[in-house]
Symmetry: D2
Subunit: 331 residues, 4 copies
């Protein structure tokens, strides 16, 4: 049994609390959040204790592991203190918006024995993982091209955008990690952006659509398409193309029902419109991997270095967007 | 080069004329129809000669083959005279509505050397034929169950119904032949009908929907579903289920385009709404088979006996519909 | 909170125990089975108490509801005693193999206030339910034809067959209920069977494949296709065809991954091979409906009369199979 | 009736000859090729006259139109002389590999009345055209992103590569035109290439895979993925994504047959492996458009300027590939 404390009682914190509750080998002891009301509500729902005191949580010797699901600026501090307190850490993405702070964090923890995992949940999506396992097993021969299509149903509110770090560090970072999941290290980034969705995004100095091309260290190419708005739901697809074939993952439907009529045929329902519906199995599998890593004393994956590497690609994409040049990444 | 005369300048005659024109090894010499205007129009379109005189056509020694696409009551007479005149014959289905007349026809031609094919065009549909070829090749192991779904877009006009012989002899006859294409001889028929589409069908003493179960001589079962109306087009599908797998043929779409929106996703266009659009490749392949049979001196398939056998099943279905009993068929 | 006792610690009992555990409004108090070991194992897994004493369970005033998941011959006795003891009852299908015993059971309970539900879980499959809801809402206009394809991956062992009551009462009974779910009362049954799968089924006097045609009280037709073996998994599909369109439910896939290669394209993984994987959401929704009915004091559906009606259709199918005649059912 | 002369009796010439033969309003008079044997063979097949004398063809006043399907270096000369001779011209892509020669050609013909069409046949693919028509009709709201996936089954032989002008001018040029078909003028090009398919391509200084990002004049983004090899056939897909939905065109299958077995389900046959099978309907519709333009005295589309613009994009992609920079295009 792995005993958890959860930092952050917001949307993603609730996802993790539900996953812990559903996992037979996990127990939630603490919900820690400076906002008392949501902390208490979440703690009560799952029989845990609410607190706003980080020290109290980290001092509890029963706590084996923490999940850092609080706001991004708090990640580095909580991650560092948790490692120092001897807890295993599952930290939500991004580790931080500032690469220098990420590197400083690493300096703090690198010599301490630690178990740190970064929450790139999509690696645990059953379809994406199946493709990656089959690519690794050689089913496609050499992997040559990867296409990632990733569109959110709706742009985030203006208030969220301000602290988001911009599209590449907030949204595309998942896709950069997905590219690394297949390609390994990425050495070149070309990025283009657009403002076609919402004026307040442009007003905030951000983009709301993007197309990015990556080159992996072995020459494999990848393309990412992003949009902050998608009328037909959460659009999450990948194609892995190799010398011997292709594997694709399509969007998920809530039922298998199809409609046939005079105006249209073979018509399905809209896709899931919310990341929780779409990725619930991924969050559960992510937690299960983290618990397994703790119990077996192995390093979880994706780890701290993966969190850092995705941020490096986001920064490179911002530079490419600004300069128009292909940006080399040294890894 | 096989030289053709065509009996019947109506809808199905036009299909055959176009197929002859498109075939590099075929030439249309005559269009013969008691109605002068359509005969002339069709003949002119393809560089043939129009006539209403059957004798003139059959006396033309250049004519190698005839297609009997005239009204059903004329089939037996034209087929018989054409055989006597030494022509190869492709006769549209049904040979006749009356089994006694079909048998009498056979008595007339059985001792004459002849090449007679019956126009069950669906055997030549590329998808259905592919399934049948693969079943024969053993891809499914032993065939156990066949499901045929066959629905027309719209019921025929009342005037047509009167001479149609009823749903089983007019429409299901194609499906009876399709069942025989997969099962060989059929030994039992159970039939049920309904009147849910149009009052004038019931008024004419006919049904406008049906479900039929057949047992093949080796125990394989088949189900047929028919409707005289289908809002989403011409619904033509089969499933062949065997010990080792299943092969299905789905409906055909004019393009590969799919629509994704807030109300629906993966939505395709309506299916073909007319048998000519749906079965043009089948009609062309049927003609090609007929020409090949003539040129190679082999018996075309489906032949006269297949035309008779499908009619026997239609009669058995009518008896089952009337009595509620399973009807044995002796082949 | 609804407190449950579970009769039967076998395969289906384990399904229900897991559903109770996952339901926030349900608690499992007792697992009752004459076999001590499985009862103890299941009870321990979910924090319940094991017993072999039915009286002890029914005397426990904390118990609100029982699930009868024991062997078929025990259903009537347990259902009756539970109703007498004032418990709500969810009884697995079939109520009994013998219609006379079912009717005798009804005589016993009909004057007692009771909440009895029969476990036709497929009514709660999200896809089938979606189609039924949309049909009821008029999306297809008048329903005209229903096609049910239901094939099990593997035939049951010979030992199971002996007490199964035969294919129609054991397997098709689900499809009879599905037909009634869409058509309401059924008035005619035509049935055909085959022995193509396993010799020991024929040796037991049973069939291992079937095709059945039903007519609903308002003239709607339905076809059922069954096989005791299906190489590609659990084949569970329906098509509802109406004046204005069609709705279909296809088989379910574990992921959305498709493979494209030189030998084949658009290829998916095999379907679920086990009814628990396939119908887990249905079992959970079934339990949720039962709990809601208890809490709101309403009659659950499908109820006792639905369990009886499906058995009547199974008996009619057996008679049709024996006589070859269409069998009228008086409801 | 439009009377044609055909320059070039090679592979693409044969396609056009077949299209002319199949078109009721077209007639083939001449096949002109310096290689006598193929010219004679092709001319005989369609009842035309073979020649190697361009002057003879252009002097024939019966000739209304020419198709330039000869080798690329001859295009400009034949196009120019045909225009001067008063013939309508359908010129295969590219007009020339050298933009300066294209511009010089334009200087020659711009003041002459002419009807010049460039053979970007994919604009006439029924699926791609359907999407474009629906986008233009506003079905998706504002178009925001276009994804083009275009992969050939096999790389061309080394001998062909030498004179091909490289991947961008030879293969991607179709996709540049497709992008312009949807986006109008393109103002920015980012290109990346790879050598993963065949060593002899790299030896020839060319690439065999590419990913390109384009920005349209109104900010719409497009991505192109190319590969010279595709194990599962000719991979030709597009996705048009807009504010209100998405339209996709998938690959085409020769039949609708699907296989279901223990190892895989819903499996289709391989895709068409050859551009002629895949694009026959497009070539026919292209010719039909050309004939209509001639008969109605309107400018065919795509015209000379479209042929030039696609070449400009190919040159820009080569520059971006070399420098890593985003290349501005002035249109």
């Amino acid at each position: 049994m792995v005993r958890f404390a959860l930092f952050g009682a917001g949307r993603i914190g609730q996802v993790h609390a539900a996953s812990i509750d559903a996992h037979p080998g996990a127990e939630l002891l603490w919900v820690c959040d400076p906002m008392t009301a949501p902390a208490v509500a979440l703690a009560e729902k799952y029989g845990a204790t609410a607190t706003s005191a980080v020290d109290q949580v980290l001092a509890d010797s029963r706590v084996d592991a923490v999940i850092v699901g609080s706001s991004t600026p708090t990640h580095v501090d909580l991650l560092t203190r948790s490692v120092v307190a001897g807890k295993a850490v599952l930290c939500e993405k991004p580790i931080d918006l500032d690469l220098a702070r990420v590197d400083a964090c690493w300096e703090q923890i690198k010599d301490t024995e630690h178990t740190v995992m970064v929450g790139f949940n999509r690696r645990f999506d059953p379809s994406f993982k199946d493709i990656r396992d089959r690519v690794r097993a050689g089913e496609l021969g050499r992997l040559e091209q990867l296409i990632i299509i990733s569109r959110d149903p709706e742009p985030p509110p203006a208030g969220y955008l301000a602290g988001s770090g911009g599209l590449f560090r907030d949204m595309t970072i998942h896709d950069f990690d997905m590219a690394r999941y297949f390609l390994g290290d990425v050495v070149e980034v070309q990025a283009t952006g657009s403002n076609l969705v919402a004026d307040y995004v442009a007003d905030a100095g951000d983009i709301d659509g993007a197309m990015v091309t990556l080159r992996g260290i072995d020459g494999t190419l990848a393309q990412i398409t992003n949009s902050r708005r998608c009328s037909f739901g959460y659009d999450q697809r990948i194609e892995a193309f190799g010398a011997g074939g292709m594997l694709t993952a399509q969007n998920l439907l809530p039922t298998s029902v199809r409609y046939f009529g005079a105006e249209r045929t073979e018509s399905a329902a809209p896709y899931y419109n919310f990341f929780l519906e779409r990725y619930t199995p991924a969050y559960r599998a992510e937690l299960d991997h983290f618990i397994t890593a703790i119990e077996q004393g192995i390093a979880p994956s994706p780890g701290f270095a993966d969190g850092r590497a995705a941020l490096v690609l986001a920064d490179a994409a911002n530079e490419s967007l600004r300069t128009g040049a292909t940006v080399r990444v040294d890894g």
